[in-house]
Symmetry: C2
Subunit: 195 residues, 2 copies
């Protein structure tokens, strides 16, 4: 199992965004959709071993966390608009603390980033960070949890919190990649190492 | 300079597709848009050293090739819809054999895949192929040209043609990745090796 946690600091937390403008109306919901696509899809198929968390921290109800379990999904396509539509449906209606399945394989909760990290603390957690250890010097443990910031980055208190539980910070180098690109590289490295 | 050539066998060759449905109406134009986004963007910035060719081979006027020069682009965002809109504008109106700049940094021509390869033949060409040499055993030459098929794959005659000029086939392994994921991994490898 590979788990990704994306902290999306501006992403809208209800369904009042337009599929015609994911970047502005959705608080960079295009980033979230692209990361989900990168995490779930290979050519002509979906990976069966991925859990993806997107912690949405934009208006009006921050935080809301989406949890996507790839093995349970149906009818999802890799394009951003299609995934944006799934997110929009999942965010309609009230959200409570307990995980609720809103679409097949897509769960929502008002859990915060720190609550999600606490749920995952028994796994090997790696925080992607420009100043981390070069990933080519570290083969992650099996069943890794990769924690990523978005285009805004991770607040200092959340970073300090996750580092209490994380095995280490990992870096892909000095280039500041899109979060979706980072996910693609992580999958490739994990595939090569049979994780 | 890094050059990517994507053969998009079903992608529409005029502007009669809907931004609300890039996958169906555009003949998987979402794949093309996603590859362009992966090729051009890092976080908060555009790479300045990328040329991207998309050889579109769908109806009604196959082939039409898009040539995108990252250093000349302006006002492009990384989301699929925005890039789809740029493609749509570039495909409006007649297209001739000579390169014509339709949007800033976006050129179109009726050149075929084989004509593009012939234009690039003095560079080090690498064809991404599942049965190629493992990429971790090969550091590409500087200024590489990476040639990729789309979700349909490359016709045998085009593959035979490009192999006349290519240095070798490279493989990212046995997992059949999305073309956009392949581009992300190639950029990462090229960045690490200072290409």
């Amino acid at each position: 199992m590979r788990t990704f946690v994306l902290l999306a600091r501006k992403a809208r937390t209800d369904d009042k965004f337009s599929l015609d403008d994911l970047p502005s109306s959705g608080g960079r919901m295009d980033v979230v959709a692209r990361c989900i696509s990168s995490a779930l899809f290979i050519s002509h198929a979906m990976r069966k071993d991925v859990v993806f968390y997107a912690v949405l921290c934009g208006p009006p109800n921050s935080p809301v966390t989406l949890k996507i379990i790839s093995s349970e999904l149906a009818g999802v396509r890799p394009d951003e608009r299609s995934i944006g539509g799934q997110i929009k449906s999942a965010l309609s209606g009230p959200v409570s603390k307990d995980w609720e399945e809103k679409q097949q394989g897509i769960y929502v909760s008002t859990k915060s980033f720190q609550e999600i990290i606490r749920e995952l603390k028994d796994n090997s957690i790696y925080v992607l960070h420009e100043k981390g250890e070069p990933i080519e010097q570290t083969i992650p443990d099996p069943d890794p949890v990769f924690v990523l910031g978005d285009q805004v980055g991770m607040p200092a208190n959340d970073e300090a919190f996750v580092m209490r539980y994380a095995k280490k910070k990992l870096s892909l180098g000095s280039t500041p990649y899109l979060a979706s690109s980072v996910i693609n590289v992580l999958h490739w490295i994990a595939d090569r190492n049979g994780l």
